[in-house]
């Protein structure tokens, strides 16, 4: 398609029209992008509402319904949106940027279908940093979450913006780690409206990213989590990062969509190797077999970015353990354990182990969830 019409920053009335266009269910993705590639926001809005769009079949390509009928429905829907209210609702949460505006994130233009209208909260200049996208499964292991979190902490401390999706599991862990570093704004791209935190388990991290970082969505406020919205979100994630790191993913996971898009865009793909027996590591292990770059931690990621570790990690105040406690930590570095399997692994008396575990948990070295012990990420 043709390149978007370049125009300066939009005024409020045009923005309100852009929001209305993005809120129109019949004008999603390709249609909106095609429309704004040919027309200015105001002209596009007027043409739809007045049903005077030249060649509607060029925009409303559908095999089921005639283009004229779709235009008529879109006109009705668009006219029913109160422009002032829509603008007010968006500005109460954040801001909106339209394709063609000077501050529209340039990396997104590399996408086949860049989002035409992008809602965001927090300044877009977070994207002028070096960026790395960290993605992974929602069904992550505790170890995977720890790796993601520590990796994000290290790269964020080196001034790299961490981009992720605020989904459960790896995404949230990565954001939590990036927030811990402080200073560098994390970037989140979500698949719901900016006022619809999803999943609820990530609400705390969501609020922090919204406060200290940048959070973006191509869906207007109030958009509910629907399954088709997330793959679209994944494309944006892929485009925003200079490199894309997969921490844990099942073979058919959504993270693999992100990886495919990132690969198409020529981004470097990195994967964290995992146990060949762990279903959660199937995805990255397969990517490694296919020849992508292995990374173990944040320092490896920085090397891929040709950056040095800045050595600005917050000081670790925890007392360094020795003896049995050190043995326990070494075992937990390999995989999760419960009391029974630890007794076998470190070959000690259950009482001594119970005391050690109590101490390690109180000192912040390990976490326990439903009987399973794991190393605690530095960032939580």
């Amino acid at each position: 398609m043709s390149t978007p019409i370049a125009f300066g920053r939009l005024d409020d009335s045009s923005r309100a029209r852009a929001i209305a266009l993005a809120s129109c269910t019949l004008l999603q993705h390709t249609r909106l992008r095609d429309l704004l590639a040919q027309q200015s926001v105001d002209a596009a809005y007027d043409m739809i509402v007045s049903r005077s769009l030249p060649r509607p079949e060029a925009i409303f390509r559908s095999v089921k319904t005639p283009a004229g009928e779709l235009l008529r429905q879109a006109a009705i829907e668009l006219a029913s949106i109160d422009l002032d209210e829509a603008l007010e609702r968006t500005m109460a949460i954040g801001d909106v940027v339209v394709i063609g505006e000077p501050h529209y994130p340039p990396t997104l233009l590399e996408l086949e279908v860049p989002p035409a209208v992008l809602f965001h909260r927090g300044p877009l200049d977070a994207l002028t940093n070096r960026t790395v996208t960290i993605v992974g499964t929602r069904r992550a292991t505790a170890l995977g979450r720890t790796i993601a979190s520590d990796m994000a902490l290290t790269v964020a401390a080196a001034g790299v913006s961490v981009v992720s999706g605020l989904a459960a599991g790896i995404d949230t862990a990565a954001h939590a780690g990036a927030l811990e570093a402080g200073g560098t704004r994390p970037v989140a791209v979500v698949g719901t409206g900016l006022d619809v935190p999803y999943p609820r388990s990530s609400a705390r991290v969501w609020a922090q990213v919204a406060a200290d970082g940048l959070i973006m969505s191509q869906y207007p406020p109030g958009s509910q989590p629907l399954h088709w919205r997330f793959p679209e979100r994944n494309r944006i994630l892929a485009a925003l990062g200079e490199i894309c790191v997969v921490v844990e993913s099942h073979v058919a996971g959504g993270s693999m969509i992100t990886v495919r898009v990132a690969d198409d865009l020529g981004r470097t793909i990195c994967a964290v190797p995992g146990s060949v027996r762990s279903p959660a590591s199937e995805g990255p292990n397969k990517l490694l077999v296919d020849g992508c770059t292995p990374v173990r931690d944040g320092d490896d990621v920085l090397t891929v970015l040709r950056l040095e570790s800045m050595g600005q990690l917050p000081f670790d105040t925890r007392t360094r353990p020795d003896g049995l406690a050190a043995d326990v930590l070494a075992q937990l570095g390999v995989q999760s354990h419960d009391l029974g399997s630890l007794v076998e692994a470190v070959e000690c008396d259950p009482i001594a182990l119970a005391r050690t575990l109590g101490w390690l948990e109180a000192a912040g070295w390990i976490t326990v969830d439903r009987g399973w012990f794991d190393l605690r990420a530095r960032s939580r």
């Binding site: 279903p279 009391l339 029974g340 007794v343 076998e344 182990l353 005391r355 969830d369």
Partner: protein, 499 residues
């Protein structure tokens, strides 16, 4: 033309003495039973008549009225058959008048006059005092367990009549009517590996702490639970009698129960089957049958929630009271509850992330068992499938006898403090019978501050810590070691709030 003989009926696990009054008068021949008999009891009419005729006696062609007193008590079952037959025969003068001792009659009659055993002979014999009991040969042993009077048996109604006339002595009880063989429970030595599982069984047995085992299928949860009765000391005399009564009431076993019973109802079990109260006889449920022993609920998440929640009250009070519109009954039900659960619905999962179940799926599955029930488990452990090496090469573990010895020693220490089992310590008792050493006190404080322990959880942990201290032979104070282990033996089944 009037007679009154003694017998009893069963309601729940209690016997109730019943006087069978028979009145025979002239008039149109008839045979009526009054005094609130239920259907099964009313059927005695036909059995008694046939039995009397088959025994070579004549059935009076007169108007016969049988009254079962007290008439407000509902009579269920066939235990009154023999008493009605004897009452009729006595009323028509077919038996000698001068009877030397007060007697009571407890047997069902066959149409040929045979005396048949009845369920609940033990509790019924218990309420008949010093009367000489006449029972079926199979019931002789059980009737003698609790009664203080003599026990006579007869094979047929004809033998009873002969003996009453003094024409023949009462027949000797058949040999072996009191079963002396005790089934040995399976031995703990067969459990290989499972160090924590064995430890938890030992603590559970020593303090009667309810135990929940979470693990994938085939990890040995049931195998271990079945070995728990073997670790418990033999029942004391009172519990033994109570357990025997419950088992007798359902006709489950014969002889005195001295080994702690193990009951493992299937998860399709209904609330009534679990708690008791099924028929008009208020049949005791699985929890009453597990009295003094172990109630194993395999696959707890598959039980109906209402059945599980009905366990809450008996778990607290050690007895169950069942009230129905017509009657109510009370059974002792103090048992050690052992539950098993899968960590996730797919059944493959062990370590989180080792199967395809999401965290949310796992949590939803665990929530099938309500929080209050999960809270009743003082001990909650994870169990894993044994490694191949464990199955093949590992030597057998300690046998039940060795562990049972330690359990008995720990229970003796608890008994010296005047406590039956540490799980029954009240919160006031905990303060002075299970004081914490200073370091342990600090640890408890830290756990409470961090929100890892609730007030109720604290008491449960301290009870378990007391038991562990008893097993380890610690003194009055509970050490930080015992407390640490108690804390670790209490795995959260649900994610902690605020995660």
């Amino acid at each position: 033309m009037l007679s009154a003989v003694s017998s009893a009926v069963l309601l729940g696990v209690r016997g109730w003495p019943v006087t069978v009054e028979v009145h025979v008068s002239s008039g149109l021949p008839s045979f009526t039973i009054v005094g609130l008999p239920d259907e099964s009891c009313r059927e005695a009419r036909d059995r008694v008549r046939a039995a009397v005729l088959s025994s070579g006696l004549t059935w009076p062609q007169q108007r016969i009225t049988v009254n079962l007193a007290p008439s407000n008590l509902r009579k269920v079952g066939s235990s009154l058959d023999l008493a009605i037959a004897v009452g009729v025969l006595e009323a028509v003068g077919a038996l000698p008048d001068e009877r030397r001792e007060p007697m009571a009659w407890l047997a069902e009659l066959g149409l040929d006059g045979t005396l048949r055993p009845i369920p609940g002979i033990v509790p019924m014999a218990a309420v008949l005092g010093d009367r000489a009991l006449v029972v079926a040969p199979e019931d002789t042993g059980d009737a003698a367990l609790v009664g203080t009077g003599a026990v006579r048996c007869a094979r047929t109604l004809a033998e009873v009549v002969e003996a009453l006339h003094g024409r023949a002595p009462w027949p000797d009880p058949p040999p072996g009517s009191v079963s002396t063989e005790v089934a040995t429970p399976p031995d703990l030595a067969e459990v290989r590996g499972h160090a924590m599982g064995r430890l938890a069984l030992e603590v559970a047995a020593a303090g009667m702490h309810h135990l929940l085992m979470v693990g994938p299928p085939g990890s040995g949860k049931t195998l271990m639970a079945q070995r728990l009765p073997g670790l418990l000391p033999p029942l004391d005399s009172r519990t033994s009698i109570e357990a025997t009564m419950a088992h007798s009431a359902v006709g489950a076993t014969r002889g005195l129960i001295t080994v702690p019973p193990l009951r493992s109802p299937h998860h399709s079990c209904s609330t009534v089957a679990l708690i008791g109260g099924g028929s008009a006889a208020m049949r005791p449920g699985e929890i009453a049958l597990a009295h003094g022993g172990v109630l194993l609920l395999d696959e707890m998440a598959e039980f109906s929630p209402s059945a599980l929640d009905a366990l809450r009250q008996p778990l607290e009070s050690g007895m169950i009271r069942i009230d129905r519109a017509r009657s109510s009954a009370e059974y002792p039900a103090r048992f050690l509850l052992v539950g098993t659960m899968n960590p996730c619905p797919c059944g493959d999962g062990d370590r989180p992330g080792s199967c395809r179940c999401t965290d949310a799926t796992r949590e939803r599955y665990a929530r099938r068992v309500s929080g209050p029930i999960l809270d009743r488990f003082d001990l909650r452990i994870l169990v894993h499938r044994a490694e191949v090496e464990d199955l093949m090469d590992r030597p057998e573990g300690e046998c039940s006898a060795v562990v049972a010895e330690r359990v008995a020693a720990a229970r003796t220490r608890a008994a010296e403090r005047g406590v039956v089992a540490n799980s029954l310590l009240t919160s006031r008792q905990i303060e002075h019978l299970a004081p914490l050493e200073p370091l342990a006190r600090r640890m408890v404080r830290a756990e409470l501050v961090a929100g890892r322990l609730s007030a109720r959880g604290l008491h449960r942990v301290r009870r378990v810590a007391r038991t562990i201290a008893d097993l380890r032979g610690e003194g009055d104070r509970v050490s930080v070691d015992s407390l640490s282990l108690a804390l670790q033996l209490r795995v959260d089944v649900l994610p902690r709030p605020g995660r």
